[in-house]
């Protein structure tokens, strides 16, 4: 094996790619050849580091210096100064919004306050090279399961870890697997839900792009545990890079016999197929997703029966989120006790959040469950830009609730947030500073649901449209006192009567803002004023 004196890790994730990281990689490679350093310095294309706002990002090892906002024209200087002469290029070193001092990888608050289990390899390995995943302990957990453990034992470990589904509902993963193990059938399926459509969420995409093998391994273990031999990954059609990387990873795993027949000589066979979605938010709902894999309109089914018993093509099917599956191999490898040291007793482990909107450090973070909003904003997120005030944080995407300044110390987990009319959901955290209007933003959420409601059930099809009309009316200065009551009662109806999670969760932001931002409703309705000036009053 070749030894290199330095490694340059360049993020080739979606956000950095848009900021020309491909050009930076190309320039870097040709500059190294020009300077005769290509035998000494290795360039590695990695997945996302999480510092998306500052991209394109690179880390130079062995020092661990992070450079951010690197442009093609900066490459020559980095090669000349840092890689040839060993002098750091200070003007490009990543500066943390909190400290404003230059920082090293592993020494920043942004990285240090995090606990990386799911993102253990993202930004560290080249996702297109299976050997790098294996070198970091990859596929050991699968080997351990199929050669030394019984399916029941695998499920016991997952149950004991307390892992809960990371797609939003937080259902215990081991219990879910147990239902499917017990169901008798000639064929069972594992489905990975990568139809990430919740606005502001991109964790699944970055896991798939940064560490695709962790999903393959998690699915194969799930297959062994419940007795399934076939898996499907349902990815949004818009995620072209994720589809490409995952397909490549599946091919490599097949070549090495880590997928296919008789894995590790154990007699267990498992294979995975990638299904591309075609643009429908509702397909993130598990039964709608199953309909879509079957080649139909993505309309949710009535439950029960649940997919665990009767799912894809009527067979018992485990549907797990990408992030859930990425947790499986580490849990098997390190044991449930190790996993339970992170997070809270009822929600062990970590959660991946995407920080977006009005926050200094935008990007992807993984932190222990139960962290507070205050810690996320001020210790990791670097605060609100331009010295503006924090106004609102919507948790879990457009179907989540809106927290205000009074909730900064609420622990973020599956059990606590619902007490504040919100939800952990997909882990999107959308921050808004005090220049934005609540009525305007909720109107935007409702517009989204009008478009995405599949139209199958009346409470959702009609309810989303009527909610949007009310917000449009209030935003244009036509609101009446009785609208407030109608909004509340219509929301209750939808929460109780809609067929699937989409319609039930659509009014979450209505309910929470009516409670925590009532003064803004009153202002628009009674004073015909929008304090932020966003709404144009007629």
């Amino acid at each position: 094996m070749k030894l290199y004196r330095a490694h340059v890790l360049v993020c080739a994730g979606a956000n950095c790619s848009l900021n020309e990281s491909k050009g930076v990689i190309k320039a870097l490679e040709s500059e190294l050849v020009a300077k005769g350093l290509d035998k000494e310095v290795k360039v590695v294309e990695t997945g996302c580091f999480g510092l998306c706002e500052a991209g394109p990002n690179m880390v130079v090892y062995p020092e661990g210096i992070i450079y951010s906002g690197v442009k093609v024209e900066d490459v020559a200087e980095i090669v000349e100064e840092h890689l040839l002469k060993g002098r750091t290029v200070d003007r490009l070193v990543y500066k943390e919004a909190v400290s404003s001092d230059p920082v090293r990888y592993g020494k920043t608050d942004f990285i240090n306050k995090q606990q990386r289990i799911v993102l253990r390899n993202a930004g560290v390995i080249n996702p297109e090279i299976i050997e790098e995943y294996i070198a970091r302990g990859g596929y050991e957990a699968l080997g351990k399961c199929v050669t030394t453990m019984k399916p029941e034992e695998v499920i016991e470990v997952v149950k004991a870890s307390g892992l809960r589904g990371r797609g939003g509902a937080g259902f215990p993963t081991g219990v879910k697997w147990g239902f499917t193990l017990k169901a008798e059938a000639d064929q069972k399926y594992i489905v990975c839900n990568a139809d990430e459509g919740e606005p502001g969420t991109n964790k699944d995409r970055l896991i798939l792009e940064g560490d695709p093998h962790s999903i393959i391994e998690g699915m194969a273990i799930a297959g062994y545990a419940v007795g399934a031999t076939k898996g499907y990954v349902y990815i949004r059609g818009e995620y072209t890079l994720s589809i490409k990387r995952l397909q490549l990873a599946i091919n490599k795993a097949r070549e090495l016999g880590l997928l296919g027949d008789n894995i590790f000589g154990s007699g267990f066979s498992f294979d995975i197929e990638v299904c591309s979605g075609a643009g429908a938010y509702v397909c993130g709902e598990e039964t709608a997703l199953i309909e879509s894999i079957e080649g139909k309109r993505g309309e949710p089914r009535f439950k029960p029966p649940y997919p665990g018993v009767k799912g894809l093509w009527g067979k018992p099917t485990v549907v797990n989120n990408v992030e859930t599956l990425a947790n499986i191999a580490p849990i098997i490898a390190n044991g449930p006790e190790w996993f339970k040291q992170f997070g809270t007793p009822s929600c062990p482990g970590t959660k991946v959040f995407t920080l977006i909107g009005d926050i200094n450090n935008k990007g992807l973070i993984e932190v222990p469950m139960g962290i507070t909003l205050r810690e996320i904003i001020y210790e990791i997120g670097g605060g609100i830009p331009d010295g503006k005030g924090f106004k609102m944080c919507q948790t879990g995407g457009s179907s989540g609730g809106c927290l205000s300044v009074e909730h900064l110390d609420v622990p973020m987990d599956y059990d606590t947030l619902p007490q504040y009319d919100s939800a952990l959901g997909s882990g999107a955290l959308l921050f808004m500073d005090d220049t934005h209007c609540i009525i305007d933003i909720v109107k935007n959420f409702m517009h989204f649901f009008v478009h995405e409601s599949c139209g199958k059930c009346t409470p959702c099809r009609e309810g989303t449209m009527r909610l949007w009309e009310f917000y449009d009316k209030i935003a244009s200065g036509q609101g009446e006192a009785k609208d407030l009551e109608i909004l509340a009662s219509l929301s209750r109806t939808m929460q109780k009567a809609a067929l699937c999670g989409l319609g039930q969760a659509a009014p979450t932001s209505v309910v929470s803002t009516l409670k925590y931002f009532r003064d803004e409703y009153d202002q628009h309705i009674f004073d015909k004023k929008c304090a932020t000036g966003v709404c144009k009053m007629a």
Partner: protein, 164 residues
């Protein structure tokens, strides 16, 4: 010249239909083939699905036509109406909204002289809304065919359109 051009086009159309048949043949005995077939067939036909090919797909896969049509019209990535060579998919989800997506949409509409949902008369551009593209770190963002573009504002929109 006129006749020659149209003869060529007719051949091209036949070529496309032959390719459609190939796609259908490849998926014929596969379970749940409808959506991947529609994806591929749409690519062959160029950005939208005609009634002619939908009937071919229905007959080829032995799926009722109403189900093929229902599926093709359910998903936003498929269209049964002609669309331009370049499909500009604009994100108006909350994260892009608060970063100025409204101005970006207006800039696209003004520059191209069409509204969202319409196609330019020369058949070059179609404007559509998309669900969140998951690149919120560089909001506001759009996707043009398979490529994504971020950190947009009205000036950058003008520059971007010139590239096509």
């Amino acid at each position: 010249m006129e006749a020659k051009c149209c003869a060529n086009e007719a051949v091209t159309h036949q070529d496309k239909l032959a390719k459609v048949d190939e796609v259908i043949a490849r998926y014929k005995d596969k379970k749940g083939a409808l959506i991947p077939v529609l994806h591929e067939v749409q690519r062959v036909m160029g950005n939208y699905l005609t009634e002619e090919v939908l009937i071919k797909v229905a007959e080829g896969l032995n799926v009722p036509f109403n189900r093929v049509y229902g599926t093709a019209t359910f998903y936003t990535l498929f269209s049964v109406k002609p669309r331009g060579k370049y499909i500009v998919r604009i994100c108006e989800s909350a994260p892009c909204h608060i970063k100025g997506a409204v101005d970006v949409i207006k800039a696209f509409e003004d520059e191209l002289g069409i509204k969202v949902g319409e196609t330019t008369p020369d058949g070059k551009f179609t404007l559509e809304y998309t669900a969140c593209l998951g690149i919120c770190g560089v909001a506001p963002a759009v996707m043009i065919n398979d490529e994504m573009y971020g950190n947009l504002n009205p000036e950058k929109v003008k520059e971007l359109i010139k590239k096509f």
